[in-house]
């Protein structure tokens, strides 16, 4: 199907089903129940899942295949967002031109940065990309404020000179971002017993693009080009000795992953027309690295999973406060309740960072292949055949946790 092997086609179908049914799957608890706190099926968070999924898939094309660890990918995300918002301000509220420009500009950006940075490898490459991204961030925050609106972030205003469209709606508001008249904010709510599910236009736009990106990544992984990238990861020196110049391949991978990041940035702006400089900060670059490793670098679905995990913690755990906890544990005897509250308090609300940090450590210690390996181990257990641990990528035959040479030869 679609030029995919049977196994990949199955994976694609599963991902499609998951993505399309996400509004239902992510709202497993009835709206009025105490567990509704853990529901993630509201438009904004689902959009973030899909968008950061795209970002991580793209990052994985570079890092998972070639082993080049870029620490500056957030710069492309930020550039994509800025381009998209400028398009909304100047041309039209339709998301298509905005996304196209976002991808174009970020690919140009990636071409320049990649061309320079790829002259070095290993940690030197990482630091070069980091340096470029930090320069972009610092300048966007300060000197480039006329273009970026600095700290506040670039926003739409009531007097934008929109060429194809109106500056203000009839009732004096800023028009909404839309796809040929279908506003991104619109949604259909369905009530089913105690449950309610919300199907939002914006989410489905993101989800479909994410699926397209996922499919493309799959094709890249399985293509001769992908094979060449893996060769770079395994042993670049030997590849060079065979007379092949690997630079064009790595540069192509870099630009492609930059375009993915640009698309993600553009989508962020399309869902919520604001572009802030923080999107380019090193912490944002670090976040996508963490997402990819957490999910499982080099696997197809891992990065999406990692992105979902981190965004889930950020948005759900940070919102659990004392009164919510008291609600949950109110049934316990007072003394026990206080002890439980005291323990749990450290990990939720203001302590959500701690939970995230512990999660990073636990996953990487016990699941060397990331969450994907965890999933595969569980699947293996269910099938009743225990796999020998330590083969990293589990079912994905292509995942080789590269042996790191300890020190210099």
């Amino acid at each position: 199907m679609l030029g995919l092997e049977k196994k990949d086609a199955t994976l694609l179908l599963v991902v499609i089903a998951l993505a399309l049914a996400a509004p239902i799957l992510l709202n497993p608890f009835p709206t009025e129940s105490a567990m509704a706190q853990f529901n993630a099926g509201y438009p904004d968070l689902m959009q973030k899942f899909a968008i950061y999924g795209i970002f991580a898939i793209g990052f994985n094309i570079l890092f998972g295949l070639t082993g080049y660890l870029s620490f500056g990918h957030a710069a492309f995300l930020g550039v994509g967002s800025y381009s998209a918002v400028w398009m909304f301000k100047l041309l039209s509220m339709n998301v298509i031109p905005a996304l196209v420009l976002a991808v174009l500009v970020s690919s140009l950006f990636a071409l320049v940065i990649g061309y320079i940075s790829l002259r070095r490898s290993g940690i030197y490459f990482s630091i070069l990309t980091l340096a470029f991204a930090q320069m972009s961030f610092n300048l966007a925050y300060s000197v480039l404020t006329p273009i970026t609106n600095g700290e506040t972030g670039l926003q739409l205003s009531l007097d934008d000179p929109r060429i194809l469209g109106i500056s203000q709606t009839a009732d004096g508001g800023i028009p909404l971002t839309s796809l040929f008249g279908l506003a991104m904010r619109d949604s259909v709510a369905v009530k089913l017993g105690g449950w309610s599910f919300e199907f939002s236009v914006g989410y489905y736009v993101c989800a479909i693009l994410m699926l397209v990106c996922f499919y493309l990544a799959m094709r890249i992984f399985r293509s001769p080009f992908g094979l060449m990238l893996r060769a770079v990861k395994t042993n670049q020196t030997r590849l060079n000795y065979t007379g092949l110049n690997s630079r064009p391949y790595t540069l192509a991978a870099f630009v492609i992953s930059g375009m993915y990041a640009g698309l993600a940035g553009g989508l962020l702006a399309a869902m919520d027309p604001l572009a802030g400089a923080e999107r380019m900060q090193w912490t944002a670059s670090g976040e996508v690295v963490l997402m990819t490793i957490l999910g499982g670098a080099g696997t197809l679905f891992g990065p999406v999973l990692g992105a979902g995990f981190i965004k889930y913690f950020e948005n759900i755990f940070s919102k659990i406060n004392d009164s919510v906890l008291q609600n949950w544990f109110g049934f316990l005897p007072d003394g026990v309740e206080n002890v439980v509250l005291w323990v749990v308090e450290h990990f939720v609300g203001p302590g959500w960072h701690l939970t995230l940090g512990l999660l990073f450590m636990l996953v990487v210690i016990f699941l060397p292949g990331g969450l994907m390996e965890g999933g595969q181990r569980i699947a293996g257990l269910l099938r009743g055949k225990r796999k020998s641990g330590g083969d990293g990528g589990g079912d994905d035959p292509e995942y080789h946790p590269g042996q790191t040479p300890h020190v210099a030869e």
Binding site: L69, Y124, Q134, G357, M361, V364, T404, V407, A408
Partner: protein, 343 residues
């Protein structure tokens, strides 16, 4: 002229902090081949060692002062440090004032133990794992350390002053024969610079002139051969990890009076220290120190108005710009060796 002298002093001072952190980071990079994202957090923990010592020394009991009232109109509760009541106002007060230098005695064992525990309990299992895994686990550890500190000390910066006789500034210009009142420089920053120089010197001497250091250097160059010679190199590397942690911790302890410690100060230094290490060249200790001072001085000069007027925003990006230029002209940084971390 005086401005240039002052900026050089500032640069050396900043540079000494960068150099100290980068030195520890390079020890871990160079000896163990581990990308340690928790190194900034170790610096931060060092700074909070100073805070802890000053808290311990000011452990107090409360006295109710009936003559004054607090903000709710109740009798004021006044904290009376035990030290002052045991040793008298002057002696106890002096000890409390000197809490930061005293904290060095506390920091060294704490950081050695922390470094040792970190290496044995966690890092040890990651030698053979990809760098990406090392980044994830050490980053996770950094967050955990940070959150623990935040939980006990709060998020706001905590003032940790230097001893009174070292808090002020003095006329550095007059010392070197310039007109008085031209070059005023804070005592503590000079102390910090001298302290860093001493630590850097000590680390180099230790590696250069002791048998232990010789073995470690041999291990850095070729771990396997040293192992084959029957030397337990792992044990020595563990100790080096402890020393690296102690160097980072000391850098933080002595930095506390310069900027009030807060729980995320480690993250602020993390990126910078990586840049310093890489610019210096992977696996090169002199490179790390050289790059630390170089970037410190350049950063100081780039914040001069004469330069900012020509290139607005230059002080924001100078470090990164220099890093790019150096890495493009010198492929392995200033003094890096071939093959280290180029995979």
């Amino acid at each position: 002229m005086d401005a240039i002298l002052l900026q050089t002093l500032n640069g050396l001072d900043k540079g000494s902090a960068y150099a100290l952190i980068a030195l520890g980071l390079t020890l871990i990079f160079g000896t163990l081949g581990v990308v340690n994202f928790a190194h900034g957090a170790l610096f931060m923990v060092g700074a909070f060692c100073a805070v802890t010592v000053s808290r311990l020394l000011t452990l107090s009991y409360t006295v109710i002062d009936e003559t004054r009232t607090d903000f709710l109109g109740n009798p004021m509760k006044v904290d009376m440090p035990y030290l002052k009541s045991w040793l008298g106002e002057t002696v106890g007060g002096t000890i409390i004032d000197w809490s930061v230098p005293l904290a060095i005695l506390f920091t060294i064992p704490v950081m050695l133990v922390l470094g040792y525990a970190m290496e044995r309990g966690l890092i040890k299992h990651f030698y053979k794992r990809p760098h990406a895994d090392q980044i994830l686990v050490t980053f996770g550890l950094a967050i955990v350390l940070q959150e623990l500190i935040k939980h006990y000390f709060g998020a706001n910066p905590i003032p940790t002053p230097a001893p009174p006789m070292l808090t002020g500034s003095f006329d550095f210009g007059a010392l070197v024969g310039m007109d008085p009142n031209q070059v005023i420089y804070p005592y503590w920053r000079l102390v910090y610079f001298l302290f860093s120089a001493a630590i850097i010197g000590a680390v180099f001497a230790f590696l250069q002139f002791t048998t232990f250091g010789m073995v470690v250097r041999a291990g850095m160059a070729d771990r396997e051969t040293v192992g084959l010679l029957g030397i337990n190199i792992d044990r020595r590397f563990t100790i080096m990890f402890g020393i690296a942690a102690a160097v980072a911790g000391l850098a933080g302890t002595m930095y506390a009076p310069i900027i009030s410690p807060n729980y995320h100060m480690g993250m602020d230094f993390l990126v910078l220290s990586f840049v310093v290490v890489v610019v210096g060249g992977m696996g090169s200790l002199p490179g790390a120190v050289l790059a630390g001072f170089l970037l410190g001085v350049l950063e100081s000069f780039s914040s001069m108005n004469e330069i900012k007027n020509i290139l607005p925003g230059i002080d924001q990006i100078i470090i990164y710009l220099v890093a790019i230029v150096i890495l493009l002209t010198r492929p392995r940084g200033l003094m890096g060796r071939k093959g280290v971390m180029e995979e």
